[in-house]
Symmetry: C4
Subunit: 219 residues, 4 copies
């Protein structure tokens, strides 16, 4: 029965792996050495938005992968709806390199450009977090999780997960006030959320018992 969940993980990992390296293809093709006119140091400095987009994509997609990894550890069975929700999560994840690239290209553009690209970027992250919540909610409702998972822990995970789309919505709404403020708010949230010790996380140290409830699952 484990099996279905494990193939979904392999497949999702493939998508994440390609998303993380898509920006490396972009780096190669926007390589400054391609422009014969300019000096190399200038050209390298000039391409900074691509590097920024590379780091943003890696940071965000990496963090989403960590969350995905944490959640799917508890899933032992899958059904059609859960797979559909997971595909929709991946649809938004795969759009992150595009919106991160747009965003970093227009950070110094006009306010309309900033607003539009920040909205697109935050919309992508918001869409991902919404469907991520839906997949956890569905897995709980349909009892697809590990039977030994503490129901209290499952509820705590739900509460924690729901915080992300709520805060992203606030960041998204504030784009229409000030795009740069909205991105700063988003970064603050991101760093804040990853520092808080959360229930259902992987244990921070091996001696922690938090992961013990699924230890009987093995492979």
């Amino acid at each position: 029965m484990n099996r279905d969940a494990s193939r979904v993980e392999t497949f999702s990992d493939g998508v994440f792996a390609v998303v993380l390296t898509v920006m490396a293809v972009e780096l190669l093709q926007n390589g400054p050495a391609r422009d014969p006119g300019t000096q190399l140091p200038d050209a390298l400095v000039h391409a900074w938005p691509t590097y920024l987009a590379y780091v943003i994509t890696f940071g965000i997609a990496g963090q989403i992968w960590l969350g995905h990894h944490n959640m799917w550890r508890y899933v032992v069975r899958v059904d059609q709806v859960l797979l559909m929700f997971n595909l929709l999560v991946l649809l938004f994840v795969a759009a992150i390199p595009f919106t991160a690239d747009l965003l970093s290209d227009n950070l110094r553009g006009s306010e309309t450009e900033q607003r539009l690209t920040a909205a697109l970027y935050l919309g992508t992250v918001l869409g991902e977090s919404l469907f991520f919540n839906l997949s956890w909610w569905w897995a709980r409702r349909r009892r697809l999780l590990h039977p030994d998972l503490d129901p209290q822990l499952a509820r705590a995970v739900s509460r924690r997960l729901v915080v992300r789309p709520l805060l992203y919505t606030i960041a998204f709404a504030s784009v229409f006030v000030d795009p740069i403020l909205s991105l700063l708010l988003y970064l603050l949230l991101l760093v804040g959320l990853s520092l808080i010790r959360r229930p259902g996380d992987l244990p921070r140290s091996a001696s922690a018992e938090a992961g013990g409830e699924v230890s009987g699952r093995g492979r």
Copy 2:
């Protein structure tokens, strides 16, 4: 013995994962920020065929992945012919981003262009569904399926699978009457087929017993 089937799944998942994200590379490279002349909002709106192709590719390849996942759960052994059929399925799957992109680029073109690109797109999907049927038929004939699989269920799956290429052939033929009608027909079929509860599907809820017949397979 499980092993062969599981490596085929890993390999196919890799191909599916890249296919889903190939359009993300295309999004990046057709990024509107690359054209310095036009305004960003106009440029973004102008690139709508690429977004459409991204969503079509994700939708179709995602659905084919679901079907592939459903079928291969039952396969416990592989032989050369089955691997060959699976490679041919993947050959057509990997061509979907190209034909979807062509199609969305020419949706507002002349009737010849619409007809040609709709025919190419439907031909790709038809080819995939034909070889998918062949692989199920071969796996049944050569007894490569799980021995505990109910023969009645296997027959029901066969009947269901054969519907897809038949309906795709009709959509394909109607391209020569009216290309847009043909695509609408195709979309209708797609949505219709995914709404109907089918035998051999993953259970929609965890309490359903439909998946139980292979539960002893484990991993």
Copy 3:
């Protein structure tokens, strides 16, 4: 102990999956819809070398994947040298899309172009088959294969494997006589080799006993 071999397979499958879909990226970017001047049907027909390269790459890389899959079923342990040989196999496999594309682009070129691109293509396939043979030879010599594998079968597989680089060398040498003849010879060999029933292959039907000697390996 199984474990090492299984991770090598996952990794190699990833490389094969990307190689198979690399040409799909190329199809997208050479998409005829990008040239506004010409008619779509003409543009599509004009791009035939890219389609040919796509099919060649899929055919060859798919066949090599089948061979890789067949061989690695018998490997239960790995050492540094075997991993190195496997990486060199993958180095040549990953160059196939490039040389196949060059070849199909220059099929109607001057004789120098035909000769050069046919030599490059055949050299890539030759390099892959050499290192593939080396990895089988090393795995046998260092007893990395399944202990229950019939030594007679192992010898038969060695004999069969060594045929490929020998015949490729002949095809490679005949490039300097006539490039087109050399490619025809190569295709003939390819089809011939895949039709002959060979020892150590996956059984063609499930009732065949050829795969039975490793059935105890499980997973």
Copy 4:
């Protein structure tokens, strides 16, 4: 419990597989057949930096994969920090095609260009080896390794791993003396390091007992 480590390996393998084949996409797109003006042989020769970058990327990323494979064999559990360190290793690995391409493009450039691109390339390799060391150090400290792993072996692996960033730092520093000398030094180190028989390596022959201490782990 094995499970977490095994998903991390699948994911990392996906990234490595794409990185190895990213240069193949670059080969295709810098294909000399694209330039109609020049002769094919000249164009092929002219593109040598791309081939060099392809081989460098394959060589380096392949070697890092071997090291990654060696290390993760001993890891049985993961925590958030270890996953973060692993993501940072992958961030630097995915940048290798870009910096290797820059480097090979500028090998015959001015001294400033040589210095800058050599520094970027060596910086990427240095960053990777630093985070690789950090992940081993963390896995040891947090007792995420296999309990039967000989502590003396673990210490020996640590000592060996720490040599790489130290030597890379020397190569990095010597860029500011002479860029070409620095690269030669780096190549010498690379070949030297891979020839020395090191504790914790995969056994070179199957009869070696070095890998025995984790043989009970199975899968």
